[in-house]
């Protein structure tokens, strides 16, 4: 248990000064949104698609007031509530897409790395092609299709994000498998007669799964932006199904001409803050894990002062 805690704290204890502050700020920002997401029903004053309260209808495009802190939008929704519920949507989509990436990418990566041969080559070719594809366009294609099949649901959007990020999971897992399968313990397992399935499930999986959390953190910021982009294009989740910041901004754009700022400013700020938080966490991790950038915390070294410098040295300087 102490080992786990030490590993989790490693990025904090091994960074100094600025890097540590950026990491702490990132973790705090992200934590705020996670709290919003988890406790949305208690934190938000109204539901995300609620248009009246106690028999009183909400105003259309109402200014921010004591009842509606961030005002109301053109569909009579309360902007403050939608910003908070939006955090839940974002978290759900990101977690769901990471789940799909792991569920599909990890087994494929292990099998590809373990068996090798033509199976491996074809998978690598397909995954590389998907990786070369402009990621946002790939997300557009998949959600264009999936919204037709499943409607604009959470699952459809998560699957579109999965298509974007799966090549990375596949690559990392495949390469780790390639090196792990050479290890002595795998050879030993084979010697005592373990089948391929057992080796992959019991020996390789444990080793390979460790790179997934880091990959998930690094991709999360990008995933939030892709989700918002899809929402903005109307390919994401419909307003009445869930609150989604990107789609809210799409509606807000029409208000900008009339000087209505509150419908767009707050969802937009929410995206910026959450993505910034996640990026700071990612950068902080990168600075500690990447040896070319790492600067360890150094203790100041105090050299004993010399009594007096020699005349020769004075001349040189």
């Amino acid at each position: 248990m102490r080992g786990v805690a030490a590993r989790l704290l490693k990025p904090f204890t091994e960074t100094a000064g600025l890097a540590r502050w950026m990491l702490v700020a990132g973790v705090l920002l992200t934590a705020v949104f996670v709290v919003c997401a988890v406790f949305a029903p208690w934190l938000a004053p109204y539901g995300f698609a609620q248009t009246s309260s106690h028999g009183v209808a909400f105003p259309k495009l109402g200014h921010p007031s004591s009842q509606h802190w961030f005002g109301t939008d053109r569909l009579f929704f309360d902007v403050f509530s939608r910003v908070i519920w939006g955090a839940r949507t974002a978290l759900e989509v990101v977690l769901l897409s990471i789940f799909f990436c792991v569920a599909i990418g990890v087994p494929l990566g292990i099998a590809s790395g373990y068996y090798g041969g033509w199976f491996d080559r074809i998978l690598v070719l397909v995954m590389d092609a998907m990786y070369t594809f402009p990621s946002f366009l790939l997300a557009i294609v998949f959600s264009f299709l999936l919204t037709d099949v499943y409607g604009g649901s959470l699952v459809a959007v998560s699957l579109s994000l999965t298509a974007v990020y799966i090549p990375q999971y596949f690559r990392v897992v495949r390469n780790t498998t390639l090196s792990a399968k050479q290890a002595t313990y795998v050879e030993a397992a084979r010697a005592i007669g373990a089948s391929d399935g057992v080796i992959m499930r019991r020996y390789l999986f444990q080793n390979v799964i460790q790179s997934v959390p880091v990959l998930g953190t690094l991709n999360a910021a990008d995933a939030i932006l892709t989700l918002a982009g899809l929402g903005f294009l109307g390919l994401g989740i419909q307003s009445t199904d869930a609150a989604e910041w990107g789609h809210d901004l799409n509606r807000a754009l029409a208000d900008a001409g009339g000087g209505v700022w509150w419908t767009g400013l707050y969802p937009g700020l929410a995206i910026v803050l959450l993505v910034t938080g996640l990026t700071l966490v990612g950068e902080g991790l990168n600075e500690t894990l990447n040896p070319t950038l790492r600067r360890r915390r150094l203790l100041p070294v105090v050299l004993p002062g010399r009594a007096a410098s020699t005349p020769a040295e004075e001349e040189q300087s």
């Binding site: 070719l125 070369t132 402009p134 557009i140 900008a256 910034t276």
Partner: protein, 342 residues
């Protein structure tokens, strides 16, 4: 040495081009599988409300949707090889014409955005790298993160709300209709046509329309330049030759400029080209935000019309463009840096 280098360059280029063919084939297959094999009927999705059952059936027949999948697949791949990217379902236009008519606006926007990103990103990145962990570094890095974290449509929203009004800048289109009719179309790229015509008012009009969208899209990628240049600067300043220069007693400013900045910029040239994919994705979001009449706006229009033919054609062209540009960059790189060719 020189002989060996010049001998292997053509071979490297040939190799790179040959390797691209299976890549393009896989991409085409992925696009086909995703858009055609999937359940659902594209023709009734695009035209369902507009035509009766018999007319729909005729359209299906004409577009070849009744034939076996493998025949459709062969049709698709072979027509792409002949540079035929199909027709749109909803308004029955060749995709190539849609791209030609709107491509100029997209090219103008992406090029201008690149200029903005380089002008803002490189100086800021160099500054941040030179003064690591100081106040400018913190501010510039935060700016870099924020410019990446802010979605283009949010930046566009803010610019339209707070900047366009006070400065009197327009927020939609690539020029006023008057300019469009004044300028003789030669290249179909409005900015170039305006410059060629030498019409001062037209040039000003086009540039005015360009400022806000280009800034929006430019800010998106300038964060990447800042980060990249900063890291390169950090690594270059730690290099042995920089230390050697310092040891020889060359002044700090000169070391930074001659030995640091210049070398830190070399890898940037490579990455500049690789941002093309991101730029395209960004353009698809920037164009609808400003009603910019480019391919991105068209793509969104066809997506909303559920037009599979148009989406398939446009996406295919985008994908081909990205792959070809990446090959071009590799070749340019090989020309600049002999180590790449090995």
């Amino acid at each position: 040495m020189a002989r060996a280098g010049s001998g292997s360059l053509p071979r490297y280029i040939l190799q790179r081009i040959l390797l691209v063919i299976p890549m393009i084939w896989v991409i085409l297959t992925v696009v086909f599988i995703v858009l055609r094999v999937a359940p659902g009927d594209p023709v009734s999705a695009a035209l369902g409300g507009k035509l009766n059952a018999q007319a729909l059936e005729q359209r299906r027949e004409a577009l070849g949707f009744n034939r076996p999948l493998i025949a459709q697949y062969w049709d698709y791949v072979s027509s792409v090889v002949h540079l035929d990217f199909g027709t749109t379902f909803s308004d029955n236009q060749p995709v190539l014409r849609v791209v030609r008519d709107n491509g100029g606006a997209t090219l103008t926007l992406t090029f201008a955005a690149f200029v903005v990103a380089l002008l803002v990103g490189i100086p800021l990145g160099l500054l941040a790298g030179r003064f690591r962990d100081s106040l400018p570094d913190v501010v510039i890095r935060l700016f870099g993160i924020l410019s990446y974290a802010a979605p283009v449509f949010f930046v566009g929203f803010l610019l339209q709300l707070y900047v366009a009004g006070p400065l009197g800048l327009p927020t939609s289109g690539d020029a006023t209709p008057i300019t469009v009719f004044q300028v003789q179309p030669k290249t179909h790229i409005l900015l170039l046509d305006a410059l060629l015509s030498g019409n001062g008012a037209a040039i000003e009009d086009v540039l005015k329309h360009l400022v806000l969208p280009a800034t929006t899209l430019g800010l998106l990628i300038c964060g990447i330049f800042i980060r990249l240049v900063r890291v390169n600067m950090l690594q270059t300043m730690q290099a042995d030759y920089v230390e050697a220069a310092e040891a020889r007693g060359i002044s700090g400013g000169k070391v930074t400029w001659r030995h640091g900045f210049r070398n830190a910029l070399v890898p940037v040239i490579t990455v500049v080209g690789l941002q093309f994919a991101l730029l395209l994705g960004g353009a698809v979001l920037t164009e609808p935000t400003f009603n910019w009449p480019g391919i991105g706006s068209k793509l969104v229009f066809y997506i909303n019309n559920r037009d599979y033919g148009a989406v398939q054609g446009i996406i295919t062209i985008f994908a081909l463009a990205v792959v070809l540009i990446s090959v071009l960059i590799d070749i340019v790189n090989a020309l600049i840096d002999p180590r790449v060719r090995f």
